[in-house]
């Protein structure tokens, strides 16, 4: 059997004496499109950041394709939350997308024509090619998210982590992003998405991890995305959520 894209075992992360993630196990088979869901403060972003080595765990182990992350960086693409960067930074759309190539270039090497071509290609895929020379502060929220996505595409990774890619984007952009994610999966990539909208989980994803500090469930959407598990993850709030029509 093929090696899992991600194996997390006994992962515990604490902020001071307060656990953010508590003894979490998670296995993600290669080639899945997975959502991480859970209420605010459930540790979704923390989970991604600890897999990427951005947060040191108090205990536990993370393997990416069977090896520690530091050895597998080149296989991993990352899309942080849109709000985590300063969009007034003096740089162009093309420059930001080319940052996705920095990892493959390594220290000190300069950007060249091939990076530029790759970035323009990725911008084309997300429908933003005509914005290449724009200053990034002139973009709308949905456009910013597309630029971030293009940046992840040029990383040409096997495994992608995306932190709330649908946050504050319009319906057209959401549709475009989902199509792109599904294309990635069809190409054999693994995609892990921190997601908020429970309604769309069965439609968009084939695998789901439900977190609330502890792991509630992890598996194929059809098996584990059940009322019972949702109630466990969200407590009483889920009745209210599923009673609501459309998006919240």
């Amino acid at each position: 059997m093929a090696v899992n894209a991600i194996d997390v075992t006994d992962l515990t992360i604490a902020y001071k004496d307060k656990p953010v993630l508590w003894d979490v196990d998670m296995e993600v088979p290669s080639g899945t499109l997975m959502a991480i869901v859970g209420p605010n403060g459930a540790g979704k972003t923390t989970m991604i950041k600890s897999i990427l080595g951005l947060i040191k765990p108090a205990a536990g182990q993370v393997l990416v394709y069977g090896k520690p992350y530091a050895e597998q960086r080149h296989l991993v693409g990352y899309v942080p939350q849109r709000g985590s960067v300063d969009w007034d930074f003096p740089t162009s759309v093309l420059d930001v997308v080319m940052m996705g190539r920095y990892g493959a270039l390594g220290w000190l090497k300069r950007l060249g024509a091939s990076e530029r071509a790759a970035a323009l290609d990725a911008l084309d895929k997300v429908g933003m090619k005509s914005f290449a020379q724009r200053q990034i502060s002139q973009l709308s929220g949905g456009q910013q998210q597309r630029v971030f996505l293009a940046r992840a595409l040029v990383q040409d990774a096997q495994l992608y982590f995306m932190d709330e890619p649908f946050q504050g984007v319009d319906a057209t952009t959401e549709r475009a992003i989902v199509t792109l994610l599904q294309e990635l999966r069809s190409a054999g990539k693994t995609v892990v998405v921190v997601h908020h909208d429970l309604q769309t989980v069965p439609e968009y994803f084939d695998w789901v991890t439900m977190l609330n500090v502890r792991r509630i469930a992890c598996g194929p959407v059809g098996d584990v995305f059940t009322d019972q598990n949702l109630r466990k993850a969200y407590g009483g709030k889920v009745a209210f959520l599923s009673a609501e029509n459309g998006k919240h």
């Binding site: 950041k49 990427l52 080595g53 951005l54 530091a70 960086r73 991993v76 990352y78 942080p80 985590s84 960067v85 300063d86 930074f89 003096p90 740089t91 162009s92 420059d95 930001v96 940052m99 920095y102 990892g103 270039l105 220290w107 000190l108 090497k109 300069r110 950007l111 200053q135 502060s137």
Partner: protein, 369 residues
């Protein structure tokens, strides 16, 4: 110009470029106040190193200063991480504490040496040409030229060689870390260089001018461009301009050189703040004014379109009644009607306004939105 005058301007220009290069990254990282802290606290490093070596020319002084700069940054971050004080307050706590220890040590134990607090704050640019490098009886120019030039080369190499890494670590530290570019190491390297720059420059120009050169030119350049590379170049040029014009301001006023140069960095920022082509205050005001007129024109076409068919057209669309119906002042109504006529949106016959073809198009566009 005498050779001494030229030398002073060259030294000041070198310091200006040296400071503004790093200042760009401080401003973009929202760490401007850290330069203020570091440029003062390095004094303690110098004092302690001086007590150990008993010499003001030992390279250990630079080392002590750089170390103290890094300690300052670490202490601020340590305090900040406790979440009991915010970062700005943490800087305000750490920097006076360390600086005052240095001031006490100097006044108590080093009163008779050339280490006085006035010189630290304001520098002695006017005396820089007197302190010369002499080898084999030949004059190789002022010493400050070599110290500041050396640090300039160091900073230039750092920014050019690590340009890509600095850019990524400043814009998106999380991605930088995920890609293995060690943003924390880059952060401390930058802070070490800020400390070295502060100590190397302040003997010549004083810590106030160091801060002015580090912050004002990058802040001015930030308003002039939307590319990082150009921001670096513009702030270097603005730094040089402030240094040279500041020198001549001091010459004319017979005033402090460092003070006049710092004033000119402020003046440069003010010019950019007011007149920057896109982000300056004037450009913004002009844009707002244009938007106001554009909006009023649309309102006018819609108002006329709404009432063309109706009986009340005669009353509603009379120029004299516009101010009443659109809540415009008579002058503003006249102005807008004038613009609308000139741009071919409306025509006026006996005081009655009707839409032209273009005017109709504009009104219907607005309705369909």
């Amino acid at each position: 110009m005498s050779p001494a005058q030229i030398e002073i301007q060259i030294i000041a220009s070198i310091v200006a470029v040296t400071c503004s290069l790093l200042g760009v990254f401080l401003v973009l990282r929202r760490m401007a106040m850290m330069s203020d802290a570091i440029s003062h606290t390095v004094l303690l490093g110098i004092v302690i190193a001086f007590f150990i070596t008993k010499s003001l020319n030992s390279p250990l002084l630079l080392f002590g200063a750089a170390l103290m700069g890094v300690i300052t940054v670490s202490l601020v971050e340590l305090l900040n991480r406790t979440q009991l004080v915010r970062e700005d307050a943490a800087i305000g706590l750490v920097f006076p504490a360390i600086f005052s220890i240095a001031v006490i040590l100097i006044s108590r134990f080093a009163g008779d040496v050339h280490l006085d607090t006035d010189a630290v704050l304001l520098g002695e640019l006017a005396f820089a040409p007197f302190n010369r490098v002499k080898l084999f009886g030949l004059d190789f120019g002022p010493e400050a030229l070599y110290t500041s030039g050396g640090i300039l080369v160091l900073n230039l190499i750092f920014v050019i060689v690590f340009y890509k890494e600095l850019k990524l670590a400043t814009f998106d530290p999380a991605l930088a870390a995920a890609l293995g570019f060690m943003p924390t190491a880059i952060h401390y390297a930058l802070m070490t260089l800020v400390s070295l720059t502060a100590v190397g420059s302040f003997d010549a120009v004083g810590s106030v001018l160091v801060v002015a050169f580090m912050i004002a030119p990058p802040a001015a350049a930030y308003l002039l461009t939307d590319r990082l590379s150009r921001m670096l170049i513009y702030s270097a040029l603005i730094g040089i301009f402030s240094a040279i014009s500041g020198y001549w301001l001091a010459y004319l006023l017979d005033a402090s050189i460092a003070g006049s140069m710092a004033t000119m960095t402020g003046a440069s920022f003010l010019i950019s703040y007011l007149f920057a082509p896109e982000r300056g205050l004037l450009a913004q005001a002009r844009r707002r004014q244009n938007q106001r007129i554009e909006f009023a024109l649309t309102m006018l076409t819609m108002h006329i379109a709404n009432h063309t068919a109706a009986q009340e057209a005669e009353i509603e669309n009379e120029v004299v009644h516009l101010n009443e119906h659109l809540k415009w002042t008579p002058q503003f109504a006249m102005e807008i009607v004038g613009v609308a006529e000139r741009t071919g949106l409306v025509q006026q016959r006996e005081g009655l306004l009707t839409l032209t073809e273009n005017g109709l198009k504009r009104a219907s566009q607005e309705f369909s939105n």
